[in-house]
Symmetry: C2
Subunit: 464 residues, 2 copies
Amino acid sequence: MTNKLVPFFEPKSVAIIGASAAPGKAGNDVLVNILANGYAGKLYPVNPKGGQILGIDVYSSIASLPRDIDVAVIILPAAATVKAMRECADQGIKRFVLSSGGFAEVDAAGAQIQREIETLIQERGLNALGPNTSGHTSTPVGFTSTFFPQGKIRGGRVSYVAQTGNFGTHTLKYILTGEHFGVARVVGLGNKVDIDETDALEYLGQDPETTAILIYIESFKRPHRFLEAAREVTRRKPVVLLKSGATESGRQAAIAHTAAMASPDRIVDGMLRQAGVVRISEYSQLVLAGKALSMMPLPAGNGVSFLAPSGAMLAVLSDYCERLGLHIPPMEPANVKRLQDISPSYIRMRNPVDIWPAALSVGVEAAYRDGMEIVLQDPAVNAVVPVMMLTPETGVPDPGFIVDLHKKYPDKPILVAFSGDKGAMDQYKAALEPQGIPTYQEIEQPFAVLSIMERCYRAMNRPE
Amino acid sequence: MTNKLVPFFEPKSVAIIGASAAPGKAGNDVLVNILANGYAGKLYPVNPKGGQILGIDVYSSIASLPRDIDVAVIILPAAATVKAMRECADQGIKRFVLSSGGFAEVDAAGAQIQREIETLIQERGLNALGPNTSGHTSTPVGFTSTFFPQGKIRGGRVSYVAQTGNFGTHTLKYILTGEHFGVARVVGLGNKVDIDETDALEYLGQDPETTAILIYIESFKRPHRFLEAAREVTRRKPVVLLKSGATESGRQAAIAHTAAMASPDRIVDGMLRQAGVVRISEYSQLVLAGKALSMMPLPAGNGVSFLAPSGAMLAVLSDYCERLGLHIPPMEPANVKRLQDISPSYIRMRNPVDIWPAALSVGVEAAYRDGMEIVLQDPAVNAVVPVMMLTPETGVPDPGFIVDLHKKYPDKPILVAFSGDKGAMDQYKAALEPQGIPTYQEIEQPFAVLSIMERCYRAMNRPE
């Protein structure tokens, strides 16, 4: 059975009901976004005024549309939505993105309209995303239904499912302006009259463009079916999930947001874990982990090595790793000896690696390059975090050597952190991330992300 | 009894033994730093070659120095340090900053030299910082003994004590280049032959320029005296402490770093808490918390309010607050009504505040300004975090209104977070922080910092 999201993520033709010629209007922004993303399918804007919008011929009525368009994006007041859907259905359109708000999330009248939509969906055999959705994005076909001014949305390997408008709008805006990774598919679930998180998980589970799935959810519409799908998908790709309502305060806030009636959190937690879903607890980790999952392989175990220009950082980060369940394994004697060879004799080298004495002896670049290569070769080490010392006055090495090391050891994730000058940090981020090496501002972040990735690896390789 | 650090932090005259005319040498960088910081006391560089360095007359020998100089900074190889100290002592110099490495942290020969220094200190009644220290800084008098190329060090209200060279070098470099707050005093303890963390705590406890003290430590030289001093100081100002060795991995790394033989961590933890010291567990919090402690008062309780453009963020952050022990109190009915007045009727306003509907109704700036003022006035709210929605396409308000609100409600800390465009976030940071409003990249960070500040408040107000 084909997943019902296929035509949404791979539409050959799209009608925009409520298209507008007025810049700044949602019905205009959605067209601007679609054009900015290079969508090659057919576009059918509908507006009673007719004419052209952004150079595209406008249809003055739904009835005048050609038959069997794949998807209609409806950007009309809630009250006008049902009639428009019915007219579209009469033209053979079976799939809808219902972008407007003003439904069950607002008041009783809105809830009534939403029930009418549900009835129409059942009577006519339709599929719908939303209502009250911030839309969906599919970069492999250059399509988006979002009306939030995003412009070109960078393609990537991770996909997001969010029961919140914030992700597809402001958080995606941050990723596009502040980070260097992109997305494969994004879907804002909205009020979930039809399409829900389980549909999205099933689609993304078999989507060859998606290598990792990140989800924000407040409540499960079909919890048993979701867990069933997750059990299967998580054996093939990482599924990272943030669910609010873990505490009483969060539960109250989630109820206020989407009227989610959450199950007792500990039960949810256990069931998700059994299904191989990796649960996270911080919103910012959707971005921080998404970045590493976009760029790096999973670590094949919890053995980490890190190099820092400070014994204090080594000590504090060792504490941090142990709390996260990351192991800092002893290295093979031959590798310890090689580390010792690039360091002054007074320091006894070990894992984690105090790189400062070596940097003084052989130079910053040589110390990090040789030190990283030695630890990358060690069989007990599954991932490496260099905390780069960056001080322009003492010389900031070209970061290209880290890209080279990743090419040479592509199976072990490298996540980069910094200590020193902010301008040099920004240069490193700008140079490394477009080449597939993730960087982090705070020295703890790569380790928090690695622990998420290591849990994903364990979930994928769990016993039957 | 006057604290022995007084002449170090308020020196009237300083000799630099091992001053150098060669740019890039430690003996040159230290002079460059001192001049960059506008030190107004007398400087006496010593170098056998004589002449001038950076326009300052050089003394060709220690014996030729005038008598009774306050402090000598010795930048010589370890092996030459004892002889130089003895000659300085013959000239009446009683206080030393021993910047070189090569002592007990290196090898048996270095340990032997360090013992000779200890003997000399006792015999001649000297005081010394280090050896193996990254130096100390005192912005109120424009002085620093660091040889790391810092240039001008921004003055501020918080002081740092660190048993690591990294803080006074790379971490301080980050603060100066990536943040907008400054420091009052910084001291790198090094090998602690004489001056230790207790001396530093006692000095900073009575220092009118220091309003909060942040410490990184691996081992306590005089644990009982430290706790005694802490019990007293923590009633007057916050003392925030990061101690590594909380786990076995961290303990091993700390031993490798400074041969610290740590006490069982749980015992240390309990004693610090009883003494009013607020312990933290992440290195980056030294900067993140230092920033808020530099700019904002402590919250007079654990009641927080926050405003975000996303119900999802409200839910996730509510979970996060509950885990941190922060309370999200219900507001007074009159204030709830005022929030309702700026919002559409469909949304039932509460704390935390979903500001998105109000932003759509009355505009982004008016929604945040009025919303923040309402929650700032509520007696149950001790601190406020606005998560600013920043999208250039939908309008980024001038952040001045947040500065105005802080002036109007100076007793309640405001910590700013963001959702949206990275460029606008950077503009907000650059505009707000120089005016005393701290901002944070990740939305969880202000809450982690507030929980530290709230623990400081409780410690200061704990029962006798």
